[in-house]
Symmetry: C2
Subunit: 142 residues, 2 copies
DNA sequence: TTAATATTGATAACCGTTACTATTATTATA
DNA sequence: TATAATAATAGTAACGGTTATCAATATTAA
């Protein structure tokens, strides 16, 4: 099935591409509804998956059981705050070597990797915020 | 609520502790039913979460939408085969430094991390197996 | 023993995601 | 520009893993 243009797909992508946070389908759905009040949640999901499969966006599995989406497809890692749940990009140098190190003593073929760092974000550190609904575990699922 | 002893909880833990794969709740449920045919799936889930919260086991989020469980709580990383879905432990040296590298240019506090490597496992490489129900993407969700 | 209470089994509810389908929008072609 | 082919949509139902509920049971302390 050859891809056809779709205004709704554009709207989904445009909503995501200017964002630095990593919203879930629900947030994207709510945002796009400003422009397309009748858009269906299924349409949002379908287009998000199409955009992922065509390499326009990537999915980010934070470990909270909900899929997050990221328009930045460049290789980078993520930090997840165990207090507020915020997901931030994490720029770090020389992590490219990690893949090589892992491949060194592994019999299979490694094609990619993703790393997730957990802790307390700058904002929560400053606020010394109470742990909210989200549990403040040292290590979340992952 | 002070923890009370439970035979079912022991069975869940004993099933998991000798395993090198990273079974899901369903697999554990099926396994424990050999010994406790009337155990409920809810009981398995509840005890798995209790075991996690008490640090006896850890959860592993592979990115397939299902929680995997691992009795090895030592810090180690995982490899996920994009063909057969197998999850293997990945021993790699000098990855301890990764956390330090990440913390170097980050304002928050990093307490832990987990890395997931994707690729084709040794067995699938040998068999040149056809991609099954699981999509053979280079980068799965994550 | 008895009393207090954590745990269980059974089942319903929950919720993020996916599938279904008649209708509509997009694109190619005449 | 009209027409035909078909991809995409809105609305909604279904799906599946996980969580919540609750009366009955097991565990522990006294």
């Amino acid at each position: 099935m050859a891809l056809k243009h779709s205004r709704q797909r554009d709207a989904v992508y445009n909503f995501l591409k200017d964002r630095k946070d990593h919203p879930t389908a629900d947030t994207i759905y709510a945002g796009v509804r400003d422009e397309y009040p009748n858009i269906s949640l299924g349409t949002v999901y379908r287009n998000l998956m199409v955009l992922r499969d065509t390499g326009k966006i990537r999915t980010v599995d934070v470990g909270d059981g909900v899929i997050h989406f990221d328009a930045d497809t460049s290789e980078h890692n993520h930090f997840i705050c165990t207090r507020c749940g915020r997901v931030e990009d994490l720029e770090m140098e020389s992590i490219d070597r990690v893949k090589e190190i892992a491949a060194a003593n592994f019999a299979g073929k490694i094609t990619g990797y993703s790393a997730y760092f957990y802790g307390v974000c700058e904002r929560c550190l400053a606020e010394q915020k109470e742990p909210a609904d989200r549990q403040d575990r040292e290590q979340t699922t992952g």
